[in-house]
């Protein structure tokens, strides 16, 4: 039973952990552990971040979210695909050489039925091996943003995968877990030494890493211990048991900052929070308005927009840690401009008169669906919105539930009024349009359907002329800004907390990149 072996290994590692003092050990925590060590099995943020310490992709993002070479040293576009020059002299943790064959294997693996990364690589129709260190990803048409989508497609060693019978990612129907769930063999800066899921994972520096001299990081060893309860997580930092907390509650940052020996860092996150108002149905399910859907009236949507005081939310609910916005995609994503980012403002009187004009002077009743375990202060924002909308006579019934029950309501389009947050991993507006605005978009829970926006969404998939493409995106956003189908609140801010003897540069995608971490 490999579980026993593994556990024995972990105990050895644990004993070592208590003795090794001379090294730079980064002990850190966050809410959720990686679900699996298999790089293609789960497209989930903590899993991607964790595996990114062990595995590498062709391209990566640096701390500022710029695309940088990783296993590929350079790449060039052509009308039928992209050609990548691979880094030479790279070895996997077990000593095997990294070659084009591994890239082909990994992309094919990511395309497998049981992979969770099919979406990212589905535009790749085939892979040509030009030589041992050059591959070409052939696409059906031009794909201007392909490299952007590849940062999470990690490369595995084909030989190791075959030897351990993990040519495919773990399947739902399988009876037993596969070898790659707990074992890993990447090219990355850290090697997995032991792993007890939800308990403790220990990684050690890869002495043969190619990037040793290029990156400033001096961490020798990482000990990761997930802590679900937020207060407990902060307590662990306050008591000095961990060096770094990825996701301390925003409201605790002030206190942490004020504590001697601790410091915090914040950065705007690539995620916007907004409310959706269903305009697809003729009559809202939870409203006392019968025979009509108030949300179809742009006056009502505008009144809602003006009634919600985003500055108050920022100041009181978010403790200043958010950026109120008028567009549901954050700065840094292609399409966001300072002009579009301007919020609609707060004007209670105008909101009331708009409501009266729309024929709802006495307001109406509607249910707000809200997740309670997904976004920063999600439930509290909703609560604040309830109070604010009450002032224009709208009686909002709040249903705050775990995300697992919240999201299906949006996808099944059965929610009248809901909160959602949207992150943009590709840093391109297309990702926003295709999911949230395009008529058939799978997260378009409000039934928004604008012919021009649909058209633009299609056009920018293949448009390679950058200025022209940018103009199209800008046009779509202006239509949206005018029609106000969603109610933008703010862009989220990330706050990382750490001891001040360690410098952990913060990244907008909330991924810890230990290669940048420096012990002073």
């Amino acid at each position: 039973m490999n579980f026993c072996k593994l556990a024995k290994l972990s105990s050895v590692a644990l004993i070592m952990a208590t003795t090794a003092n001379a090294e730079n050990v980064l002990r850190w925590t966050s809410q959720g552990d990686a679900l699996t060590m298999d790089p293609h099995s789960q497209n989930e943020s903590p899993t991607i971040a964790f595996n990114g310490q062990i595995y590498e992709a062709l391209v990566a993002r640096d701390i500022e979210m710029n695309l940088v070479p990783e296993l590929a040293e350079s790449w060039t576009a052509s009308p039928d695909g992209w050609t990548f020059k691979l880094r030479q002299g790279v070895t996997f943790h077990d000593g095997a050489d990294f070659t084009a064959e591994d890239v082909v294997f990994s992309f094919n693996r990511a395309l497998e039925e049981s992979s969770d990364y099919k979406e990212q690589v589905k535009t790749v129709s085939s892979i040509e091996v030009i030589d041992d260190y050059t591959v070409k990803l052939v696409t059906a048409g031009a794909n201007p943003i392909l490299p952007n989508t590849l940062t999470n497609v990690y490369i595995m060693d084909s030989g190791w995968a075959k030897a351990n019978g993990v040519e495919k990612p773990q399947d739902f129907a399988a009876e037993e877990e596969t070898f790659s769930v707990r074992n890993s063999n990447g090219t990355g800066p850290f090697m997995l030494m032991s792993r007890a899921p939800e308990e403790l994972s220990v990684l050690e520096r890869n002495p043969n890493w190619w990037g040793d001299s290029m990156y400033p990081g001096n961490v020798d060893r990482i000990e990761y211990r997930p802590i679900k309860n937020a207060a407990t997580r902060v307590a662990a930092l306050l008591s000095g048991e961990v060096d770094f907390v990825l996701d301390a509650p925003l409201q605790d940052l002030k206190r942490i900052e004020a504590t001697e020996g601790l410091t915090t860092k914040t950065v705007a996150q690539v995620r916007s929070i907004f409310f959706g108002m269903d305009q697809s149905v003729d009559e809202l399910r939870s409203s006392n308005v019968k025979g009509a859907n108030p949300f179809r009236d742009i006056k009502v949507r505008e009144a809602f927009n003006l009634a919600i005081d985003k500055d108050a939310i920022q100041r009181v609910v978010m403790d200043g840690l958010s950026f109120p916005t008028g567009i549901i995609t954050p700065p840094g994503v292609l399409g966001n401009t300072p002009e579009l980012d301007q919020q609609y403002g707060f004007d209670l009187d105008k909101a009331k008169s708009l409501m009266a004009e729309a024929g709802y002077a006495d307001g109406f009743e509607v249910q707000l669906d809200c997740p309670n375990n997904r976004y920063n202060n999600d439930e509290k924002i909703c609560q604040a919105a309830v109070a604010m909308l009450a002032k224009i006579g709208v009686k909002v019934n709040l249903d705050a539930i775990p995300k697992a029950q919240h999201f299906p309501k949006i996808q099944k389009r059965i929610s009248d009024f809901y909160m959602l947050g949207w992150g943009v991993s590709t840093l391109d507006s297309h990702y926003v349009f295709s999911y949230l605005f395009e008529g058939e978009g799978s997260w378009n829970g409000i039934g928004y359907n604008n012919a021009r926006v649909n058209e633009i969404t299609k056009l920018i998939e293949t448009e390679t002329d950058i200025p022209k493409r940018t103009a199209l995106i800008d046009e779509a956003w202006h239509i949206i800004k005018k029609e106000m189908p969603y109610l933008p609140i703010h862009h989220q801010v990330l706050g990382w907390s750490m001891k001040d003897n360690v410098d952990v540069p913060i990244a907008a995608d909330d991924h810890l990149r230990p290669r940048y971490v420096v012990f002073k």
Binding site: K254, E379, Q383, A387, A390, L398, D399, A400, I401
Partner: protein, 310 residues
């Protein structure tokens, strides 16, 4: 004999009663009863005595959020115990929240008691197959720990309700969830008491008179099983309030728009390390004092109603 005389003698007899005497000579019982009484009164009079109505969203101003108590730096005299993260007055919120906690507690205990005593008395009186079935169900339920049952019933209840009714009915779902976990306790006690009482000769005498079974149960057996049931109910009230708080703490209970004390503590707990101690401290103290006094009362009652321990 004049009417006043009669009533004074009745009063005299009331004071003469051993339990009443024990009450007035046990300081703990008096304090506990007073606090419980004050808490219940305050909770039910909340709309009258609370400075604000925290359940009316139109009265809340987010800009007043996170203010410390009046006596602390930055506190406002308008908010004696400060405000919570939504700008609600803590004092009013605690009063209203206490009302919900007490309401949920009493209703849940009452439900559990109604169900448990009915089934327990029936089980004990009729015996045989009825008894076996009822008590086996109780055993099965006792097999799964109460808080898990409550989480389960609560989860199923919420899932089964239509979306638009969920928030409105959340409180009833919690009541049912806690009440349904409570009943086996009552059933066991009531059954035990019934078995004892049914064997007593006054019940046989009642049978000989020819009274129907349900008259015997209602008039004779039920009143005599109430003492132990009362004790269980008091202790059950304290446990039910804690259970509600725990459910709410796990995010499974009362929604934060109309918070109970447990919800307040859960929400406030998130602000413990950020220095906003009053958001969790005052509700926690309120909860502890409430539960403590109910427990103290139950404790005294158990001793006082158990003549053997006197």
């Amino acid at each position: 004999m004049s009417e006043t005389n009669k009533s004074s003698s009745r009063w005299q007899r009331f004071l003469d009663n051993d339990i009443v005497y024990s009450f007035f000579t046990t300081p703990g019982a008096i304090i506990a009863a007073s606090i419980t009484f004050i808490a219940i009164t305050a909770a039910f009079a909340a709309p009258i005595i609370a400075p604000y109505n925290p359940f009316d969203p139109a009265q809340i101003s987010l800009w007043d959020g996170k203010l410390p108590p009046a006596w602390a730096d930055g506190g406002s005299p308008a908010y004696l115990l400060g405000t919570d993260n939504q700008g609600r007055d803590m004092l009013s919120t605690i009063l209203y929240g206490g009302r919900i906690s007490i309401l949920v507690g009493i209703a849940a205990v009452f439900l559990g008691m109604l169900l448990g005593v009915t089934l327990g008395v029936i089980s004990g009186y009729f015996g045989g197959l009825t008894d076996t079935i009822i008590m086996r169900i109780a055993d099965v339920q006792l097999t799964i720990p109460g808080i898990l049952v409550a989480i389960l019933i609560n989860g199923i209840g919420r899932a089964a309700l239509p979306l638009e009714l969920r928030e409105e009915f959340a409180i009833y779902v919690v009541i049912v969830a806690i009440g349904l976990t409570d009943w086996p306790q009552f059933a066991r006690v009531a059954r035990g008491a019934t078995l004892v009482e049914a064997e007593k000769e006054y019940v046989q005498a009642a049978k000989l008179i020819g009274l129907p079974k349900f008259t015997i149960i209602l008039r004779h057996i039920l009143p005599n099983t109430l003492r132990p049931v009362l004790v269980i109910a008091t202790i059950g009230l304290a446990l039910a309030i804690i259970a509600e708080a725990t459910l709410s703490f796990l995010g499974q209970g009362i929604p934060p728009t109309t918070p109970s004390l447990g919800t307040l503590i859960r929400v406030g707990n998130e602000f413990l390390f950020s220095g906003l101690w009053w958001i969790t401290f005052f509700p926690a103290i309120a909860l502890i004092i409430l539960v403590f006094s109910v427990n103290l009362l139950g404790d005294w009652m158990r001793d006082a109603l158990n003549p053997k321990l006197r």
